[in-house]
């Protein structure tokens, strides 16, 4: 089935104003308000000075909009910017490494689960899916001790290894559904032509599954970019902090720099929101055509 989410049901021509469309528009309008007002307030605050942010009644449009919060964040010579850019870089390093390694591990596994009939296949597949069921805190203590044993505490490697497992179950699930829907005839043709199985997988099947791989990769990236608890526990040095943990530096004993915090929260959200906006249809399609159809 190649119907995408945006296809209109039915397909017959319809009059313009219909009660169910009005109801749908109303529902979405209200939910959009709920979703976007907090985001808008974050952005509005990020363009205010400390004093303006503490004005009551609150103003949506700052009287004197200021870029000073962003200038502070992005100036590598200033104290604030030095740290913020460091955290940003750390987040990019950790998330990118997780995405590359996680996808590299998930793709062949999903392919094997889809195509091969080795013993223990079902049990292993279930075990991987169940990974999501375990409370994160259950793993926190033993992993912390394990990482300490291997000397990985306060290293990015500890986070990359851990984050890989967060995305793996869903990535494998998504991709397996995708491979299930790719006809085997193409590989057979390659095999008959004398290609090895691995070659058929890499050169024939993988190119066809690019949308699925992209969807899985975005998911892994977003998970890694946003993670807080493990980063809080595994990292000690300021130089290594990722953004979610680094943001706590805006809270001090006496004053909280809310405009600065909102500006950095905004900057931190941009990569994942943009990434997702551009690629969301792959993600929803993979969910629809792959995972849920199996």
């Amino acid at each position: 089935m190649s119907a995408s989410v945006s296809t209109r049901p039915g397909g017959r021509p319809r009059p313009w104003i219909q009660p169910h469309l009005v109801l749908a528009a109303l529902t979405i309008g209200l939910l959009l308000l709920f979703v976007l007002l907090p985001m808008a307030w974050m952005i509005s605050t990020s363009f205010k000075s400390q004093v303006a942010a503490m004005q009551q009644p609150p103003r949506w449009i700052p009287e004197v909009p200021t870029f000073e919060n962003y200038a502070k964040l992005l100036d590598p010579r200033g104290e604030g910017g030095r740290w913020f850019l460091r955290y940003l870089l750390n987040s990019f390093i950790v998330s990118t490494a997780t995405t590359v390694l996680g996808t590299a591990v998930a793709v062949p596994a999903a392919y094997a689960f889809s195509r091969f009939r080795f013993p223990g296949r079902r049990l292993l597949f279930m075990t991987i899916l169940v990974r999501n069921m375990f409370p994160a805190v259950v793993f926190l203590i033993p992993l912390f001790i394990l990482m300490r044993t291997f000397g990985l505490v306060d290293r990015h490697a500890s986070l990359i290894i851990t984050y890989m497992t967060f995305g793996l179950p869903l990535a494998i699930w998504l991709l397996k559904g995708y491979y299930d829907n790719i006809p085997t005839e193409l590989e057979e043709a390659a095999l008959v032509d004398g290609a090895t199985r691995f070659f058929a997988f890499v050169r024939v099947v993988m190119p066809l599954s690019v949308p699925g791989i992209v969807a899985a990769a975005i998911y892994v990236f977003i998970q890694a970019w946003n993670e807080y608890l493990y980063a809080l526990t595994f990292l000690n040095s300021d130089e290594l902090m990722t953004l979610p943990v680094g943001l706590q530096s805006y809270f001090s004993e006496f004053v909280t720099d809310w405009p600065g915090l909102m500006a950095s929260s905004f900057v931190m959200s941009i990569p994942v929101v943009v990434l997702f906006m551009v690629l969301q249809r792959y993600f929803v399609r993979a969910l629809t055509e792959g995972a849920l159809k199996t």
């Binding site: 119907a3 049901p9 013993p119 069921m133 909102m262």
Partner: protein, 315 residues
Amino acid sequence: MDHAGRGPAVRALPGRRGATKGRSRASEVAADYAYILPALAVLVFVVGYPIVYTLVLSFYETPPSLPGRFWTGLGNYRTILTSAEFFDVTLNTVYWALPSTILAFALGIPAALALNQGLPGQGILRGLLLIPWVISTVTAAYVWRWLYHADFGLVNGFLMQLGLISRPILFLDSPTLVIPALIVVNVWKTFPFVMVMTLAGLQTVPRELLEAAAIDGATAVRRFWHVTVPYLRNVLFVTFILLLISNLEHFTIPWLMTGGGPARASQIWSIDIYTIAFRSLQFGLASAYSTIVFAIVLVFAYLYVRALTKEDTVR
């Protein structure tokens, strides 16, 4: 999930054997495993080992002041299960997790149905509604903490401007309001997940069936209940269990907004375990605590696996 009868798998094809002439069955299987080995290795290292380790450690006392650990049998379990604090924290956790999950469904399902009606610009609307799910929980927690701010927050400012209240409401400092206030944040963050899963589930409902029902004169409401809902049931169940479990083990929102306060009013399991482990440094006790939470979650995990392995997960 089962592929028996879903069209021939590569392995079953005649002639494919010939393509790998000379290879024994054992080496075939070994080659198959090679594809999943990397994934498996990572999972054993990061999932399998920790579970065993937690279980073992839960039977030991690990005094923060002394090196080493001391066998205490079920002592840690007794300490936790007989404490009034654990009982309170469990109540908080349920009070936080269950309404969060139900409300996320109450918003997520109508959102998905509305998005499925063929409005212009659906893709963009869907993308915008997914924003809370995509951004970091940390961002969500800070933005809402700022919104709830007693003196300068938008929520209080707005309510006072409308004249609904004369003094600001201390949402995060009130023992009775703190959990409802946190639930709102959680629902904001998670309803898009329910929405996207429902939306994907809706695509699997066969169009012909809906049209046939319409031709037979079934009203929209009846079509929804008798055609759509049966198809969605399993997706919704799996989503519900997933979300409930993730809410039961949730950490970040209360941790960053209230730290479990005021006076432990929003202390939930994960925060309790984290505090015992990394503030009091009682790893043994915290491991027993984790194991208890794990056992509770396992019940739901079992239901999840059963739903997933059902032959007709979706259709």
